[in-house]
């Protein structure tokens, strides 16, 4: 009675992970020049968020329109560390108060605010990158899920959080760099992150972290918790009356999504070289949902493809037809909802996988209904 869904990896999962690994670790680095590779590295940072959304939204039915908040918090934590490192008294000698970040000096701050101090430590920063978003998610999650706020209300309130944080960051520019963000980041422990070599290294670090997150996500999906999430999405009351504290599961998965987003944000900062409130607001938050939806809201690997594909399309379309980009993106939103509700993964499972299995004569689970298509 061994059931395939109880194993961490089915044959098909292994295949899916392997293909993605080959694409990310071998094909892209070989096919792309350093500039394009860095771009794809940036896209991959959004994939962290999209994978988190698959867990929250696809599996758990919790649609957060505020993932940008967590992405931003992670990114800002990293940016604060890098900014402090870049603001040596020597580099900032022309300031009235050397040794503090330039934007603080422009805003008449004469000393580093106390809550910036810990970000002198890389170790603390690495913890904060995950911990700060998680604590935020925990507060929001406890407040909302304990009171059984869900669905549309949750979406709107998380969206409001994105708006609030953006206004706050912009308004408190002496502490946050305001609308400009935290810019001109240079080195990580003396290692210049702006060189092409560094960017390549960062790409692989990023890809490695993404795979770690994918494995965690796969583990969660395949654990009993993963099945519980699906059960909760469809029959929340039944789960509750089977003796589960539904809220704690939702809080957990929301925090996990926030942690992924925070890591993504930190990697974004490292690869792009700055962090700004435009990554926090409502628009990027919703765009991250679309990456997830395009890939297939039920598929963690799909989320990665979704993030890569949409962003690649955005870059190339806006290079050649900037006017058309919004039309294309808008159309994509509508199409993915109305025509391909399970995104790329759904298309794969319905149309490609059956043919593949017919081709190889194997039985690779093609008969699965699209509604519960597992990864890939």
């Amino acid at each position: 009675m061994e059931r395939s869904s109880n194993r961490l990896f089915t044959t098909q999962d292994i295949l899916g992970f392997a293909v993605l690994a080959v694409i990310i670790f071998i094909v892209l680095p070989m096919a792309l020049d350093s500039f394009r590779l860095n771009l794809f590295g940036k896209y991959l940072t959004y994939a962290f968020v999209a994978v988190g959304l698959v867990l929250c939204w696809g599996a758990g039915g919790i649609l957060s329109l505020g993932q940008g908040v967590f992405f931003g918090l992670g990114g800002y934590c990293m940016a604060m560390f890098l900014k402090l490192e870049a603001s040596t008294p020597k580099n900032t000698a022309i300031q009235s108060t050397p040794g503090i970040p330039d934007f603080m000096d422009w805003n008449q701050l004469t000393a580093l605010p106390w809550w910036w101090e810990p970000f002198n430590s890389l170790f603390f920063t690495m913890i904060a990158v995950v911990a700060v978003p998680v604590v935020f998610a925990l507060i929001i999650g406890v407040a909302m899920f304990r009171r059984r706020v869900g669905g549309v209300y949750f979406a709107i309130i998380t969206q409001a959080f994105a708006a609030i944080l953006t206004i706050l960051i912009i308004g408190q520019q002496g502490f946050t760099g305001g609308v400009n963000g935290i810019t001109d980041l240079r080195t990580l422990h003396g290692w210049d992150i702006r060189t092409n070599d560094a960017k390549e290294v960062l790409y692989f670090v990023n890809a490695g972290l993404l795979f770690a997150c994918l494995l965690i996500a796969q583990f969660v999906r395949k654990s009993k918790l993963g099945r519980l999430l699906i059960a909760m999405r469809d029959q929340e009351d039944r789960v509750r009356f089977s003796g589960y504290d539904v809220a704690s599961f939702k809080i957990f998965i929301f925090c996990l999504g926030a942690a992924f987003a925070g890591i993504g944000g930190a990697m974004f900062t490292l690869q792009v070289g700055f962090m700004s409130p435009t990554l926090v607001g409502i628009v990027p938050s919703i765009e991250m949902v679309i990456f997830c939806a395009v890939g297939g809201r039920l598929s963690i690997l799909g989320a990665v493809y979704g993030a890569l594909l949409v962003n690649w399309a955005k870059t190339s379309l806006s290079e050649s037809f900037p006017e058309l980009w919004l039309l294309g993106l808008g159309g994509l939103f509508i199409a993915v909802v109305m025509v391909f509700p399970n995104g790329l993964a759904g298309v794969y499972a319905e149309h490609i996988a059956p043919r593949l299995s017919g081709l190889f004569g194997g039985k690779t689970g093609a008969a699965k209904s699209p509604k519960e298509t597992p990864a890939e």
Binding site: R3, K224, D245
Partner: protein
């Protein structure tokens, strides 16, 4: 009639809930003994389902007390009530349609109910054996790998009962368990219930009087949120107040 009888499994006293002034359940009291099968009947809108909702924590009471094994349920969360030993089946079958029968039962298995527990839960031999055992009880042993969505209406009802049984509750509350079943399924369900009652108490809401007579130890008649009559099936059937309510209007 404030009876502090330690032999009662469930003591409901002065239970009241009002929705914007409308008292759906009004100062209701009743007591359930161990191994009793209590059937609650009453006309539509009498508050039957609301009573179950109140006991299992789905609806918050305005006043009163619900004691289960001397523990006050009204102060507890739904999942804590379940862990205390109260199971609840809903009126419309609610099973996880996307999951298989096996997985449905597995999710109800009383282990790994914390976040960490669920992450580290392993499907070991004990779990499998227990699931198999329950599946036999609810006549679904051949359908373990079927998705719940493909079950018949009656089979879904059984599956939901099975999901409760696997937790081995001391008090089981069933809301119209035979609604929408064929005659054959009804008979099987009655047989199932009789077996269940052997080692636990059950509260059943039911309209089908034949079925009620078949299983009930005692019957409580609710009317406008209050107890109208209580006792054996025979006594209740002959109570003029009950006849008035059912036939008079």
């Amino acid at each position: 009639m404030n009876m502090q009888n330690p032999n009662f499994l469930l003591m409901v006293e002065g239970l009241t809930v009002s929705f914007d002034g409308f008292k759906a359940v009004n100062d209701l009291s009743f007591y359930v003994e161990p191994n009793e099968c209590r059937v609650i009947i009453g006309p539509n809108g009498a508050g039957k389902t609301t009573v179950l909702d109140l006991i299992c924590g789905r609806t918050k009471a305005t006043a009163g007390s619900v004691k289960f094994k001397d523990k006050e349920l009204l102060a507890m969360r739904e999942d804590q009530i379940v862990h205390a030993g109260v199971g609840r089946k809903f009126q419309t079958p609610s099973v996880y349609e996307d999951l298989t029968v096996f997985e449905n039962l597995e999710l109800s298995y009383p282990k790994g109910h914390s976040v960490f527990g669920a992450l580290t839960f392993r499907r070991d031999a004990n779990v499998k054996a227990r699931i198999k055992e329950i599946a036999e009880t609810i006549f679904l042993e051949d359908l373990l790998d079927e998705k719940a969505a493909y079950l018949s209406h009656g089979q879904k009802q059984w599956l939901e009962i099975g999901m409760l049984l696997i937790q081995d509750p001391e008090l089981l509350m069933l809301d119209e368990p035979v609604a929408g079943m064929s005659v054959a399924e009804r008979k099987k369900t009655a047989e199932l219930l009789r077996r269940i009652v052997e080692d636990r108490s059950v509260i059943v809401i039911e309209h089908d009087m034949g079925f009620v007579a078949d299983i009930a130890t005692r019957v409580t008649v609710l009317h406008q949120g209050k107890t109208l009559s209580e006792g054996s099936m025979e006594r209740v059937q002959n109570d003029p107040k009950v006849i008035e309510v059912y036939l008079g209007h």
